[in-house]
Structure formats: C-alpha cells, structure tokens
Symmetry: C2
Subunit: 322 residues, 2 copies
C-alpha cells in the first residue's frame, strides 16, 4: 500500500515568507510522508496578475499563507475553485479585518473564502535570526484537529525552531495582532525617555488587555496561550525591537507633531506599519461593543495616534480605574 | 475621639532603602492617619551593633524591612522583645532561606521570629527611576488582612508609583526571588549572542517555571500574580538590565572559564549577586522534593553556574521534554 504524500506550497512574500519556505522545504526533504517539491508563489504588489499563483497552489494540499494582511482577501478570491478538495491551510499573517459586522480574523477569512480548515503560526520569531538558525520558538493555534496541527509542527519545526501546538486558534492569532498595539505604547514610553520601570509597566498592562480583549471576543480562549511564544515572548521582542516601536518612538520624540504616515515613509523604506491600522481596528471594536472603559491602554494608544492626546498621556491615571 | 496614628520606620540600606524611605516619609507627611516622623535605621555591615536599630523600631507600629537578605535573620534576632505589640511588617527583600526542613520565605522568617504579620512589596521598580519620580508600579502581597495591605498601599503609593495589593503573598515573594534565576539564563543568551528570539524564549520558559514552582510550593498561589508588576514586569526589567544578567553575560563570554565570584568582584563594586545564591537554593529544593525533571531551565542554570555544563547548554533539547 502506498501512503498518500502531503504536498506543501507557500503563498507569500518578504523576509518571513522566504524563511518559512526554507523551513518547510528542508523538512519535507527529510520526511517520507511529504513530497520533496515545495512551490512558492512570491507575492509582488506590482504584478497582481502573476499566473503562477494558481500553478503554485493547484496540486498542493498544505497551503502556507504569509503575505501582508491587506492582500490576503484578493489572493483568496483568485484561488477559489483552483485548489484541491483536501486542502489544509495555515496563516502566518498578523492583523485582522474589521467589517461592519465586527472583526474577522485572517484564519476565518481564509476558512470562509476557500472553505478550508486554517491553522495559524505566530511567535517570537524574527526572520533574520531563524535564517541564521538561531534558537527560536513558535506557537501553532488550531481549532479541533490535533493531527493536522501536528503535521504543521512536523513541517515547520527543527531543533533550532521549536514549535508547540495549542488548541486555541483565536487566542494565538489575537496575540500576534494585538501585540502591535502594545508595541506602539512601548515606543511612546521610549520616545519620552520615561525609563524601564514605565516600559515594563506598559508591557504588563498591555499583555493584560490583550488577554482580556481576546477572552471577551472569544470566550473559549485559554489563559495559558498568553504564556506561549505567541504571547509574552512575541510581545517582548516586538516591544524591544520592532518597527512599530521604532516609529512610535519617533512620533513621541516629535511631540506628536509629525504624522505616523510621514515617519513610516522616512524610517521604514516603504514597509507599512501594522500597528497603527490594528490600533484603529481595535478601537472600532471597542466602540461597536462599548468596551472602551475596560481597555484604557488600547484606547489611549488610538487617541494618541490620531492626535487627540499628547504621547505623554500613555501613563495616565485612567490605566488604574478598573 | 482622637484616632490612633500609625507610625512607620524603615530598617534598611542601599539605594532601594533610601527610595522606600522617601516614598513613605512623603506620604505620611500628607496623611492624617500617620505620624509625620519616619525613623530610618541604615544597616551597615561594618557597624553591626549600632544601637539605633532598637531606637528606630521602638515606637513604630509599621516596620519596613529592606536589607540584603543574608542579614535579616540577625536583625530580627536583635529586635525580639524590643518592638510594640501591634506591629505590622512589610518586606522588600528578595531571596529565600533554604534550611534542612525546606525553603523559608523572608516574610515567614520575619513573621516567625518577631511574631508579627508581614506583607511583601515587589515589582518592576529600579530605585534610581523612582527617585527621579518616573512612572513605576509595584505589587504588595498580603495573606489575609486586606485593610492592613491597603494601609501599606497608602504609605507607598503615589501618582508616579502605582501600588496594587493582591492576596497571594507567597506568589509575590517567589516572583521577586525566582526572576533572578531567569535573569542569569537571559545573561547567558546575551553573552553567547544567541539573539532576541532565544532571549524572549528563555524569559518565557523562565516565567512558566516560576509559576509552576510557586504553585507546587504553595498550591494557593494565584495565576494572575504572574501578570502583576512583581511577575512579568519585574522579570522583563531584570532580564534586560539587572546585575544578575550582566555578570552571567560576562560568564558566558568567558566560556564559563572565569568564576561568578571573580566577575562579581570585578563588575559590581562589592555588591553581591542574588541570583547565583538563589539558583543554588532553588536547586536544593528541586533535589529535596525530586522535582528536577519539571524544571529543566532552573536546573540547567544551576548546572552551568557550577561549571558542569557550558553556557551554551541553556537552550538544550531538555527544555521541551515535559
């Protein structure tokens, strides 16, 4: 009896896309239950009709999505009807879409548009370091099918890239999304030179709001998810070195006088900041559901980003009113 | 009717001792229910028989202890029979004593020796920054008496120094103690230039071991304590900038060839490192109770500190065997 081999494809772009493809390809080469060939479709904003997308996906049954989050909807639309019936997907994309009906996680969007089960992979993993095979961790979030999650662990994990799977997809995905809001707050603290005590306090309050927000959105979210790599570890990395922190630092140093858009252009060489967009989306959810009072940090970050309070408002009294 | 006024005294030394005295004195000056005078006894290793200790404590009913932890037992012995009957104590001291009968927290030691109720105050609070009135947080842990804890919150808290009280004294105190073991691990990662992914991973694993250890030691310990300032926030600060991290970094850079003792003398101007002592004490507890397998990080830090494994063993396979 010949056992069916799984075939993976990577729909992605950027540094993280290349690193993910390398991890997958090196594992499939060594594992009998996977095809050696891994096709990668590289997303380019300037080539929106590249026909290779369908070619990359057509005979794969394990699709890895790792694109900027604003393009995933268009990519899914192009894949409808072009993929196999037994496809499993995983999203490495951080962010969420807020529609009039409420927020929609990227994994749900993929699930709904393509009719496939979709896991997520998040965590404290700077691509450059993984490319150099430095020790790193990641968390896979899955809904129900543990066997599928374990197949993703097999395909991504290496001795230097340790992957754990937890049955808490929304918690894992929201960690990856919400940490960017906290990183903006941490950047304000840095820019105002408020010190390490203040920065640690803001990161702590941020983690608590991430947890509370996730649990209100999805009551099934587990407490322990926030102690996985996707939670506390990714938050630490993002608040210490990420681009959201960097631009927020510059914004605070300018006293809020230069816009995020202007600083982004100047500091990030065309890369778009995820955090400010997410901050606005989170604020929309807080307003839709009348949760503002319970999330003083998230709310304050938005109010500062939109210029209605100065950056120094980040450590205001209201943080302690709940 | 004249309401009884509380009177505070600080038994302490060092930077944190002075800062604590400043916080207490500025609050008691403004609060009607406290005496304006706050006596401080400054502990000096070279003047062990300074008679002012008894004078400082004699008419106080709120005693703040903030000394290096190896001296607290001797100080308590000197105070037996010299203090008032209605005294409440609070310990700002990090560390624990491991006796043949098992570990003893500093607050328990004060409680047993002096027969007084003893709270603890821990958190992400670098003394220099608080002295400059930069925004900081702290956590008070208390056993049962919430009213007493609130009195400590009153006496320490300011708009720039935010103090919360939680009914989980052992959890708060163990956070302050165990974070130093994790900081040594983080220092190894820095010294070996293993990158931010690895450092965030080690901090995350460390927090999980802190929580598991505390809950095994004291089943009443609350999960949420690790999300207070004493938990995650203090861990972040200690792993980024503290002296334990610094010396462990140098130890790893020397390939484990120079001793902690030697590096301590060279780098800390006579200050004694808490973390290595605590690492040994924690290891003793792990052995006494046969818990080694459940705490691979704590155990590995000890084995590296004592020269039985190289610093690079810090990210070994065993971290993931549980």
């Amino acid at each position: 009896m010949i056992k069916k081999k799984h075939k993976a494809a990577v729909i992605g772009s950027g540094n993280w896309g290349s690193v993910a493809a390398k991890l997958v390809a090196s594992n499939t080469l060594n594992l009998d239950s996977f095809h050696d060939e891994v096709r990668m479709w590289v997303f380019e904003e300037t080539l929106p009709n590249d026909p290779d997308l369908e070619h990359a996906a057509e005979d794969a049954n394990m699709l890895v999505f790792v694109t900027p989050h604003q393009f995933i909807e268009g990519i899914c639309k192009r894949l409808v009807g072009k993929i196999k019936g037994d496809v499993e997907a995983i999203s490495l994309i951080k962010g969420m879409e807020v529609k009039t009906g409420g927020p929609c996680m990227i994994s749900s969007l993929i699930n709904k548009q393509l009719g496939v089960n979709c896991c997520v992979l998040m965590g404290a993993n700077i691509g450059d370091e993984i490319a150099m095979e430095k020790f790193s961790e990641a968390t896979i979030g899955y809904r129900e099918d543990k066997e599928v999650a374990q197949r993703w662990v097999q395909i991504f994990g290496t001795p230097y890239f340790r992957v754990s799977a937890v049955s808490c997809i929304e918690g894992v995905e929201l960690c990856g999304t919400l940490k960017n809001v906290v990183a903006i707050a941490a950047g304000f603290v840095d820019g105002l030179e408020m010190g390490n005590n203040a920065k640690a306090a803001i990161m702590r309050i941020g983690l608590n709001e991430m947890k509370a927000f996730s649990k209100l959105m999805f009551p099934s979210v587990c407490d322990n998810t926030f102690l996985e790599s996707c939670g506390i570890a990714d938050l630490i990395i993002t608040c210490l070195g990420g681009s959201n922190r960097k631009v927020a630092d510059a914004f605070a140093r300018s006293g809020g006088k230069r816009s995020f858009h202007e600083l982004e252009t100047e500091l990030l060489q065309g890369q778009k900041l995820q955090g400010v967009k997410t901050t606005g989306e989170v604020y929309e959810v807080l307003c839709q559901r009348e949760w503002q009072q319970s999330f003083p940090l998230f709310q304050t970050v938005h109010v500062i980003c939109t210029g209605h309070l100065p950056p120094s408002a980040i450590t205001q009294q209201r943080l302690y009113e709940n």
